[in-house]
Symmetry: D2
């Protein structure tokens, strides 16, 4: 089969023929129909993720058709359309797994990092990492929902906010443009926060009730004019920008960070203590969370904005994503 | 009446005769029996708190007997033993007040800062700032519970932790020595965290199940050996020390800060995202929270460790507190 | 001024001239623009509510213009458009009030029951019972939102359900037709439950994703086919009908009852234990909750379906409501 | 090996030699040291539980030593002391399992009902049903904690109550005598509710702060005198008695039922609506919950009161339990 392979840290994608994988007894073999490109795939391209080995085929936003199942797999069958996201499997035996908290599995696997992913014609994945895809959504549209989508949907629905609350989405990109739609469709008073006016019109179209341009005005002050945010969903990995809006939180406000960066934000006890505020993080979700995300997206007609590329053009597609020029998610089709 | 007055920012306490106050129509006049000295009283001594004017009599951990009530006061009567804490009154008309969230009143008053407090023979306070004191607790023991006690009791009971969870109390001082007792009596697996072994024996006596000396060992690592803390209650205003234990949080762990300092802590989105962690602040409580604190303290026989001083020795007493030599709260008796 | 007065239990409304009221020092005088008729107004017509005295002017869904304020009222001013709902005032001094839980005030007043309400040209109300009305909503549309609307909006947003969850609204009447709209606009998978097909088309138009006719099919079974309801909002006061859908709850499902009836439902420990289910009640809300309801309604363009009547036709209007023939709320205009 | 077998519904226990079981690949073989007798074992004795087949060896409160593990078992090893409770295994593949909600598995097994249990010298159990037993607790003491203990501990810690709240334990029996201890050790103001004074002294010794004899006084009224219960934990399966205390709930009070009976309680919407009350059920817990229960019990020195019988005397032991004469749990030792 054809695949886009990273052979060593720092290398380009090489399109080549590799062996079509076979599912082991707890695995499912998927014929890939679409695979989103995610910024986290750069962990494979540039190296450094714990447990990563080369050569590696990346891809953790995968939608395709079940082609074959391992002997222990009884809940998936040939012909189903399914997806695989960031959470690529868990051990069932560690303490978090025994509590049912699979996302925090001590031996968890990431698809496309700990095993080969969806930048290929086929991939295998453990049965527990598989999600069903509703008919209403095309494979290309579904793919980014399995990482970008689930992350913000899951963060929002588990944040404790109530319908009508002021929710600010910081950053209008791959995650942010979905978060704005979800927040609006959850009945939140949705505020798009960006550093220029370029995306103002788009933000309104996606459902934002308000728009704040932090290039012109102080983001925290503007949020306070709206009563203070009950939730600021920080979708862009820029810790300085995040730090700058903490004071835009209202009473009981929560800063919820979904963009994985190790660069610290700064916040004082006093800032959080006055008004009982908090800062928290949220990590994607499991296959069931993916199914919930997709069902909600189908019900509310939420779609990612995507640009499609054939697998052969993976280097070009990847560069566009890294250059932050894609509007907003890039999807490969094998 | 006799009072300890700060006449200007930076000045010492001056013991002098001042006019005994009269309650206005919504106020209660209290004959002071005991008043705790709190580190926050230094805001009065050194100046800088918004809305503070001189001369001022500090004191927001006040217990005494109702001597007289204003004409609109029907729920308090002469002879009752009552207390006043940090939260010194609210407006009932701002939006937080209309939501019943008095602690976040936009026009809230702090006793001993926005009006004269308990370093005196008498003080007045708005009726909504008054708490009933249960018989089982002496006035001197009750006083520090109205600020140090309520802050940690209220933070702990509202933190969402469940009995049996690992709770670390960082800092064994005025707040911490109470937090250890409360946490243990709430059925938490209580871990005292200190920077030396000096207070190890005491911590165990107060109910701590474990003790971590961060002077010898890495606090975060030691907490992880216990499974990770579900809650770290940071009671000392040292942001570096707080930053250093963030990685001691377990899954769904929360860093809860009650010590008011403007010095930022540093924490990365990644640190919080992995394991769904959070950092939050908690501000004392209302008069009803004080009553809950006192009832719980009476029921569980929780007492502050105090050193009593006559009002005349306020300068000596205050210095001992500021030098961090008191074990652990200083209480003035007029 | 003209008013519709009930002079004794069981009597009809009598349209007559009465003295225009004057606001006492904590009250606001309102020139009524619209007043909804609520089933609970029948407590006045037929008698029996604790604390009710005659003659009485009912009406607790009142919108009008501030005409005059009492001397202690600083947060409302002449000319503002405001509303008064079921919660007609609280004492600020009982324990629930001291906790900020005004709705559970031990001395709470109901507008139009404990004092004269909005079936008149003017009414007075305590300042704490007043809500601001956003410009986007007409007075006639706003009126029913102050009781029917707030009750279901507040119940839904505080129920702990998450966007995408299956929410069944039982009963499509004054409360139900609003609940369907709110649930849909909060991103819930909304199921309308009715005992005939008459309102099926309407329910879909209001936003329902599914419709169950319990006249034809077993409601509980149909809900289980949808995965089981996370929430069943019981809006009609028919305890048998409520009892019959309890088994339609899914895992962690909650039956939430907002229709005040003293007739018991039946539910066994086993029914609730399997799947960790619960049954709960929810009582309307405060003036701030009214403001939240109205803001959300304005933001999402949620409107009650109303039939307007002049105050003079109150007897005809009231009968239509009691006969369950109104679609769906009746609003009086003086 | 020796076992106590029920050969048909309604039969007595027959002590006989049966084949020692062998663990299948996902199972663990346990040499039984102690097995509690639970009222639910009567489902086996009298028949009627879905999926039950004869002959059957009951017993779901089992503590013993791992003797052998199946080939797929890597997290348990020979020589460990372990336990098995009511929750006897789950499928990992149904939707609740995929959400990590094992207790609601659609294919869940109950130990001693769907497969042979601990009234024997040996038993096997699926690896996911196994809990580790802390050294501090004897096998006989640990056994009842795996069903009676976990049920009330888990119900209490997940109920949302806060330390200091009024918690009533209705029924002082196998579950209730543990619930009183746990509630007190969680810092709850603990009220024992019984229908006679027989157990008053005992209740106080177990930690109850208050005692209500519903044979002499109205339980609901007495609870209201204490401020109203935030939680009533109904541990005895008597629906009339449960119904009678609903009005003892305070604001936001919750009636939590853990005793499995199909006999309905009666409660009106009005009863729950006033004060935002609720009625809910709670089902035992998983192996991890068992571990939490045991750790908490060890930490707080909570022990069941037990009467030990040799396996040979199972009929006598069982009768004592059924006659409600045991104080309070009966434990068999093979
Ligand atoms: Zn991704
Ligand atoms: Zn795991
Ligand atoms: Zn203080
Ligand atoms: Zn205020
Ligand atoms: Zn009404
Ligand atoms: Zn009140
Ligand atoms: Zn049992
Ligand atoms: Zn299952």
């Amino acid at each position: 089969m054809k695949a886009a392979v990273i052979e060593k840290a720092g290398g380009d994608f090489i399109i080549k023929e590799v062996d079509k994988p076979s599912p082991s007894k707890n695995e499912v073999l998927i014929k890939v129909e679409a695979c989103g490109i995610c910024h986290s795939d750069n962990f494979v391209k540039e190296g450094g993720f714990p447990g990563l080995e080369y050569p590696r085929i990346p891809g953790h936003e995968v939608v395709g058709i079940v082609e074959e199942v391992g002997e222990n797999v009884s809940n998936w069958e040939k012909g189903q359309r399914v997806g695989v996201g960031w959470h690529g499997g868990h051990c069932f035996e560690c303490d978090p797994c025994r509590r049912g908290d699979f996302i925090n599995c001590e031996n968890g696997k990431v698809s496309g990092i700990h095993y080969d992913g969806g930048y290929a014609e086929y991939m295998t994945a453990p049965k527990e990492a598989i999600a069903n895809i509703p008919e209403e959504i095309s494979s290309a549209d579904a793919a980014p929902l399995l990482c970008a989508g689930i992350t913000v949907y899951n963060a929002l629905r588990n944040s404790g906010i109530r319908a009508g609350d002021v929710v600010a989405v910081q950053g209008i990109g791959g995650l942010g443009h979905l978060a704005i739609q979800y927040a609006a469709k959850m009945g939140m008073r949705t505020v798009a926060v960006s550093h220029s006016n370029d995306k103002q019109e788009l933000a309104k179209k996606l459902g934002a009730h308000h728009f704040i341009n932090t290039g012109e005005k102080d983001g925290a002050e503007e949020l306070q004019k709206l009563g203070g945010a009950k939730l600021i969903l920080a979708t862009a990995p820029h810790s300085d920008a995040i730090t700058s809006v903490v004071d835009g939180l209202g009473i009981d406000g929560k800063l919820l960070m979904v963009a994985a960066t190790g660069e610290p934000i700064e916040v004082s006890p006093m800032q959080l203590l006055m008004g009982r505020k908090s800062a928290a993080g949220w990590p994607s979700g499991t296959a069931m969370d993916s199914e919930d995300t997709l069902k909600f997206s189908a019900m509310t007609d939420t779609k990612p904005m995507i640009e499609e590329f054939p697998l052969d053009k993976v280097n070009e597609a990847f560069k566009k994503m890294m250059d932050n020029k894609a509007r907003f998610r890039v999807v490969l089709k094998p």
